[in-house]
Amino acid sequence: MAQASTTLGLMFILTKLTVVSTMYLLFIQEDKNMKHRVLRLVAVGVAAVLTTFGVAVGNAVAKDKMVIAVPTFLTGGGAPAFGVPARNGTELIIQAINKGQVPAPYNTKGIAGAQVEAIIYDESGGGAKQVTEYRNKVQKLGVDMFAGFVSSGTCAAITPVAEELKTLTVYATCGTPRVFEELDKNPKYVFRTMSHATADGVALAHYVASKYPSANGYTGINQNYAWGQDSWRDFDLAMKVLAPNIKGSDKGQWPKIFAGRYGAEISALLKSPEDLVHTSFWGGDLEAFIFQGLARGLFKKKTFLMSVAGTAAYRLGKKLPAGIVLGSRGPYGIYANQLTDTPMVKWFNNAYVNRYGTQPTQPSYQYAQAILGAKFAYEKAAAANSGKWPSTDQVIAALEGATFQGVATEVRMARSNGHQGVTDHAWGVASFDKELGLPVVSEVMHFKGDCIMPPDGMDSVTWLKGGMKGAKCD
């Protein structure tokens, strides 16, 4: 594979050289002899055609091993919180799959017999750049499928392109419900193996309604971009349905993403009358906000609902403010590490800690889950195809509407024509356990997927605004 790509790269350079040299010949060279010019032109033309044909022919990829492209943040602000744990989780699970070390039901070597190569690449740079990279991975490297994507923005950008290029793409982490509700109502090639972000807000609202029924209100501080805006909207709408007596503030704070300095925002929050503060901060912004808030006693005065604090819990350690309501975007990370007792989680946690010296967080679980989804689908399709390597259509058929075991939870592909996963969710209160030397969660409530996700065919915002009809909560 690597060799093929190098060859292709060389051919590519040759092609471009011919174009450039053509320009050079035409614009620069002052050769009075017209015949020479024409001859040279023909030569360049032939070379161009040959090299480009060579590229076109070289595109075939051998099938004895499969290639999964795994996009995640390797640079920029998203790397520490999401990219690095996601990459670690991916590397771990893929190596284990290739060696057959994953616990049952995934204890066969490889995926449907093929060894897996993961091309882990950088997701930063914005939607347009990512679409370009996606096309490259498909058209140049001929990858079999994609598993990954952290950012909602990237997923929104990739969805139509994945359909256009007819490439199996399994979203691992990105949260926006827009993917199947708006952008791609009739998906074929695109899947998502975890609940979307609406589930976070709804589950949190359930948690608040039952644990803080007498709170006098809630305000928020969210980054002023799509993720922050959506997170607040979903939580706010769900609260209006589930706890109408707890009033939301219309003076929530909207700092710019990566602002890093929150002095005035903290003053405004300290001044605000509401007891509860919702935030979907993550990564460096979250950590900076916590340090600055701690220095001013903010977390003693307010109860914080932090939907993505799971990404920072272990790193903050004893600086994790005690008593915050902490989310992990599902039963991943700290919830799995501490509370889930299955052989799968035990194995994953052990292997991860041994290899990287730190606890796995939610992106590690979510990425591994997406790849297990792929293994499940390929093997199911291969079995139906009498053991032969399945076509993409067969893999899609196998995954649509299926239920498979992820690392930390069962995933039911039960929404959006069987393309959107539904999983359980968990919320609890964080504190630091001095004896363990680790942050822990208590007061944990679990929520069933059908209770916190809109029913099939229903748009999230409509569902929330309509009073969340059809939610199945036991």
Binding site: A268, G283, G297
Partner: protein
């Protein structure tokens, strides 16, 4: 109308807005002053400033991490802040000035900006190599100082001390420029480089000295802010834009301009956060655009006279 005005007159709110504004303004000034100094003397709009900020923060957080890991005395963090600033400032000051800018003096302003932009990109890459992607924490100095309650609002001493740091920096620069021989020489060079050179001022040394000063201030800003943030890749990018804005608003190269511009932005921003949180994102660019439209030389730069 009167009622509206009275409604606005909320002492605690006004106090909070002013304090928040001063703190943020001091932060902006500390972050921008190095860029302002370099621009004032060398007419180089230095994008690598963002890298110095980042490297200052990284080195301080790295050393601080080791320091506190060994449970050494808490105050050591403050020594580390200044130490890191000087190490980074001197090293990168010499590297960039001698290695890059020296070859570009006299070229088009744009080209120099681009060259520093290029160096900035390269340094970002080098930073990733040295420090990796994981964040560094250096919160101890911020935590150890504790907080105070004024008019029912808590403020922590560390962030309040940024106001003092901003004052110290601006007073020192003022003293240096107006009361020392070196400062006079510097002003001569700013006024007319050729004539100063002809009169025997060692312009090369002045430029190098200024650049090291600017770099050190840049690194100091990073080191001083490090205890309040999570030090991770990309923190320099944000700072470049902020510092640009301050330099533009204050008047290219004017230190008092930068100080007053910073506080202006800080207070307007704080007012927005308290009253119109949605507007926070635009405040600084809006002020920058307004200043550029009505006073393109900045608030404090003397308007240039064009000779025929």
């Amino acid at each position: 109308m009167v009622q509206l005005l009275l409604g606005w007159f909320d002492l605690q709110l006004i106090f909070t807005i002013l304090t928040d504004g001063l703190i943020y303004g001091s932060y902006l000034f500390i972050v921008a002053v190095g860029m302002t100094v370099i621009f004032g003397v060398q007419r180089v709009l230095n994008v690598t400033h963002g890298s110095f900020y980042a490297f200052g923060a990284y080195l301080a957080a790295y050393l601080g991490g080791i320091w506190y890991e060994h449970e050494l005395p808490d105050f050591g963090g403050f020594v580390i802040i200044f130490l890191a600033a000087i190490v980074v400032g001197v090293f990168f000051g010499i590297l960039i000035e001698r290695g890059l800018l020296k070859h570009l003096y006299g070229k088009d302003e744009h080209i120099v900006v681009l060259a520093t932009f290029a160096a900035f990109l390269a340094l970002e890459g080098i930073g990733l190599f040295i420090w990796g992607t994981d964040p560094y924490f250096f919160y101890q100095p911020q935590m150890m100082l504790g907080f105070v309650e004024i008019l029912g609002m808590t403020y922590d001493y560390y962030n309040l001390s940024l106001i003092v740091l901003a004052l110290i920096i601006s007073l020192s620069i003022w003293y240096f420029l107006s009361r020392t021989i070196w400062g006079r020489l510097l002003q001569a060079v700013i006024f007319d480089r050729e004539v100063s050179q002809a009169m025997g001022v060692n312009v090369t040394a002045v430029f190098l000295g200024t650049f090291i000063l600017g770099t050190t201030l840049g690194a100091l800003s990073g080191a001083a802010i490090a205890p309040t943030i999570s030090v991770l890749p990309g923190i320099g990018v944000e700072v470049v834009v902020l510092a640009f804005a301050v330099v533009v608003i204050g008047g290219m190269g004017s230190i008092p301009g930068a100080l007053i511009g910073s506080v202006l932005v800080g207070v307007v921003r704080a007012a927005a956060i308290h009253e119109f949180p949605q507007a926070e994102m635009f405040v600084i660019y809006a002020i920058m655009a307004i200043v550029l439209v009505f006073r393109p030389e900045g608030l404090f730069a003397p308007p240039a006279v064009r000779k025929i």
